[in-house]
Amino acid sequence: MVNLIKIAFRNLLRYKRRTLLTSILIVIGVVLVVATVGFAAGFKSSVTSILTDSTLSHIQVHKQGYFENVTTSPLDLFLDKGEMQDLKSVLDNNKAVQVYSPRINFSGMLSNYTETTNMRVTGINPLKEAETCPALIDRISGIENKKQFVRPGEVIIPDVIAKAFSLNIGDTIVLVSTNRHGSMNGLTLAIAGILESYGGRFLRDGYVHIEDAKTILRMEEPEISEVAIRLNNLNQLEPVSKQLTTNLHIGEADSPTTYEMHSWKTLSPFTSILVLVNMITYVIRFILIAIVLLSIMNIMMMAVYERTREIGTISAMGTSARRIRGLFLMEGLALGAVSVCFGLLLGGLVLIILNALNIVFSAGPFTLKLVTEISLMDLITITATVLIISVFASLQPAYKASRLDPVDALGHV
């Protein structure tokens, strides 16, 4: 094997310029894939982090039918005390669940005494919410106590409303809403913070303390609209979702369904962007495969043609067809291996440089800092792809070499 590798490398160096050009082509392909995958992974990670850590959390549980009507924040679809106790029991017994935050969602009218506008309000326990969505407080300006970022009597309003109504920290507003029985109520609240908006559904979101939500909506017991759940590890999303689905008896035909559950992927309107980003990486991977396949097949076919007499010589000496095939396969593999190594190194360097440049860009409603990242699995996949395609591209030339008639090959000029 060592001799086979040695001969393969020497044969590659025989035509230095051609080998170099082919290798450069593969290196460029690998760098392109590494950069794209690194950028895509970083982008996905950033967007996922923004969505899950500041608003959605990893999983949300609602009353059956709530999600279908989520835009109207239906007050009649809530989890009552008994249902909440059952849910808490399930969540507390699941070790993958880090923390959860019960929320009361409702639509309200915000008035600064001269103007009125609508706002989507979430009543929360700030301690629980800060743990469930740790990035939320970073999006709120003006808060003094990061853990108790909204206390009873206080409100967090979105920046678009603050700007439109010229509202500042400490100003008071009146928040009015109608409860599920049609009874209207209002509460005067002081602005404790101003929330940076994402846009879309999250453009007019505000927060009040859960006790104030109960007061405005005249609830005797909290009527929970949703429970936001944070997991210890986002990678556990699928198995934990399955566990919770089973434990909460969701989707079971023989039992009345109380809960519905959605992961952040279902809840986020931006998941399709992430799918698109994934598709782009697949296109780039396909381009890499084409580059490796065509360039290595080309160089190996030329090698077989130019070394026909040499193949005749080694065949005459008694080299088996299998060994001749092995020689050419090893040559293709060696070229792929060297190229992918340089490609990965150069690709890694490109990612480091991109990170060092601190590039900030806008992607839809998000302002993101470009942080690239690439997993070991991605590196292994890229390497394996190049190596497998290298061997595959060398198969036909290697087979042709092994089938050459020694007499014809020796007579080749």
Partner: protein, 230 residues
Amino acid sequence: MSLIEIKDVSKIYNTGEVKVAALNSISASIEQGSFICFVGPSGSGKTTLLNLIGCLTKPTEGSITIAGAHVNSLNRSQAAHFRGEHLGFIFQDFNLIPVLTVYENIEYPLIMVKNVPKKERQALIFDLLAKVGMLDQKNKYPHQISGGQKQRVAVARALVTNPKVVLADEPTANLDHKTAFKIIGVMKAMKESLNTTFIFSTHDPKVVKEAEIVYTLEDGQLLGIKKGVK
């Protein structure tokens, strides 16, 4: 029994609709340890006969037996194995592998054909390098040595697997007279020391004189066998 038995061998090439008889009912017996020359003009069938004995092609008619094996019936893979075990080749253009050194060229059949262990390989190669006078050139690449030196390396490579027969198609054609005689001398010395059968073809009448037995071919037919020239 002779080492090589050739019985009524014919070889016809089909070139489109035209059939060309390269050899026509040739018979011969070649003994172990002989030093034989095939002589004749271009197109006489020398190379075809060497290719048939070398199991590189099959006769259209007749049979060839080498070391007791009916080589006509060998398939492609068996023929390759047989060549590796029993035959050595020397070519007119030397056909050394350009990316390998002198030492590695001789080592090649021991690794790729016979899987000989490293220590054993070293002993065999150094012995042959000394015999062909190339020991001091062992680390050079083919492009760094002369034509005569290349052919010495080719002789060593052909002999390193200890074959029963070495076939050489015009081994001196690309060499000057002085070098050609040296190569023939090396081949003869090897034949003496290893008892290997050498069969070579040539146009050169002076080289022919060096052979023990001369087979004269013309138009695919064996015209005569001359023994005891030297």
